[in-house]
């Protein structure tokens, strides 16, 4: 019971009130309660709005998937990656895994189709060489979620939290498709979803009860492998809809083999993995925030695609041919990173002397997650003990650091 204040919607309308001594108040519209006030708080039934827009009570940074809207592509800048018996990174944080016989392309905005409403980018797959996977052959698109970001799930304990995956997907094929969540060595949840119409974006949600067993890393190593299968061999397929605590699997029994059809396409975007049994709207982060999250794992520090003269770092010459430089990372990295270069020509500007080199820089042992010394040789005619900078001297190339999982 409660005091009620009802705005009538019948007859001549008007305000109707009733009273009691419970200390509770119900505010009603047409006899339906939309707000209840009790000694324990206020409960709202229906939608909340603020300044004309929806008022969200969803927590920020709830999406455990980074770059789920496929906007960031630092390595390839929209170019395609051919995946043949390899495990390349494609769009930021998205890895393709292929130890089978198929060959497929992965590309941001492949074939330039119209993304789902609210998105501008997607990850596209196109099969160029088909294969019928057998044994442990695996073809997947995956994101490895860092353990530091899953500790609140309590996985591996009796208090494991339920999660929900949501995403937009489109394929030239229809039927039951598969994927898995796994810890890597010995705990897997195969899941399935259905694509009903060919070449049509469809929204999918999958709710998964938290894993109550096995070990789930909560440090800077991989916590969860989230995988979308393109077709795998029977030895790595499992029964969907239940945890298997003694297997490392990559797909679901009965799944459609995308790589089995030459020319087949598979597109995905708006990927979200969040706590709870209900999918919420995709969490749109500002571009710079999303980029910064990606940079923990891969960051371009000099991009010839943006500027042919892109500087790499300040340097000092050890001799007329050798430089030492110090790079400070704009975002701290997950662990001690690898130096990645695609550059074929460099130029040093040291005071009054300049010089070119086609020798790539290498790392020294003076390195951390926030900075690194690099060494570079192959120059000529540099002034000894001179300070200056080294820069890219070729367009379409970059220098980067990676600390991928």
């Amino acid at each position: 019971m409660a005091i009620t204040i009802n705005a009538k919607t019948s007859g001549a309308g008007g305000l109707e009130t009733t009273a009691d001594n419970t200390g509770n108040i119900n505010i009603q519209s047409g006899g339906s309660t939309v707000m209840s006030v009790t000694s324990s708080g206020v409960a709202i039934t229906g939608a909340l709005s603020q300044n004309g827009g929806a008022y969200s009570t969803q927590p920020t940074f709830r999406n455990l998937i980074i770059n789920g809207d496929m906007r960031i592509d630092q390595r390839n800048a929209g170019a395609s990656v051919s995946v043949s018996s390899s495990t390349p990174y494609t769009l930021d944080r998205w890895k393709a895994f292929n130890n089978g016989g198929a060959v497929f392309l992965v590309q941001q905005n492949l074939n330039s189709i119209t993304p789902p409403e609210g998105f501008t980018n997607y990850l596209g797959v196109s099969v160029t060489t088909s294969d019928t996977p057998s044994g442990t052959e695996t073809h997947v698109i995956r994101q490895q979620i860092e353990g530091n970001n899953i500790s609140h799930l309590n996985w591996g304990t009796a208090n494991a939290k339920t999660i929900t995956i949501s995403f937009w997907v489109r394929s030239s094929l229809t039927g039951t498709f598969g994927g898995t969540l796994k810890n890597g060595p010995d705990a897997t949840y195969p899941y399935t979803y259905t694509i009903d119409s060919a070449n049509t974006w469809e929204y999918k949600t999958i709710t998964i009860t938290g894993a109550t067993s096995n070990t789930w890393n909560t440090d800077n190593s991989t916590g969860i492998f989230a995988q979308w299968s393109l077709g795998s061999g029977s030895s790595v397929l499992g029964t969907p809809g239940a945890w298997n605590y003694s297997a490392n699997l990559n797909g679901a029994t009965g799944e459609t083999v995308v790589v089995g059809t030459s020319g087949a396409t598979f597109y995905i975007t708006g990927v979200q993995l969040e706590v709870g049994s209900t999918a919420t709207d995709f969490e749109n982060l500002p571009y710079d925030v999303q980029l910064q999250r990606c940079q923990r794992y891969f960051q371009v520090i000099a991009d010839g695609r943006v500027s042919i003269n892109a500087p790499i770092c300040m340097v000092v010459s050890q001799s007329t041919t050798v430089l030492h430089g110090l790079v400070h990372f704009p975002t701290p990295m997950r662990t001690i990173p690898t130096l990645v270069t695609t550059v074929t020509s460099y130029r040093a500007n040291l005071g009054a002397s300049n010089g070119n080199s086609t020798t790539n820089p290498t790392l020294d042992t003076i390195i951390s997650t926030i900075s690194a010394r690099i060494d570079q040789s192959g120059f000529s005619g540099l002034g000894a003990d001179s300070a200056g900078l080294v820069r890219i001297n070729s367009e379409t190339n970059y220098v980067a650091f990676q600390a991928e999982l």
């Binding site: 050798v322 001690i336 990645v340 290498t362 020294d364 042992t365 390195i367 991928e404």
Partner: protein, 56 residues
Amino acid sequence: MYKLVNNKETNQLVSITKDNSSGEILSIPVHPANTDYIQYLEWVAEGNTPEPADEV
């Protein structure tokens, strides 16, 4: 293919270079949490041998 890189003064191993044949040249630190170094160790464990470092 992997190639060892030694410090030119101390001749101690400081990093490992890899040409991954996709246009990327990697300089990999000798660090157990680096994924590229872990993959290098797995490659060595399979019986492979890197190119030696250049003579100092």
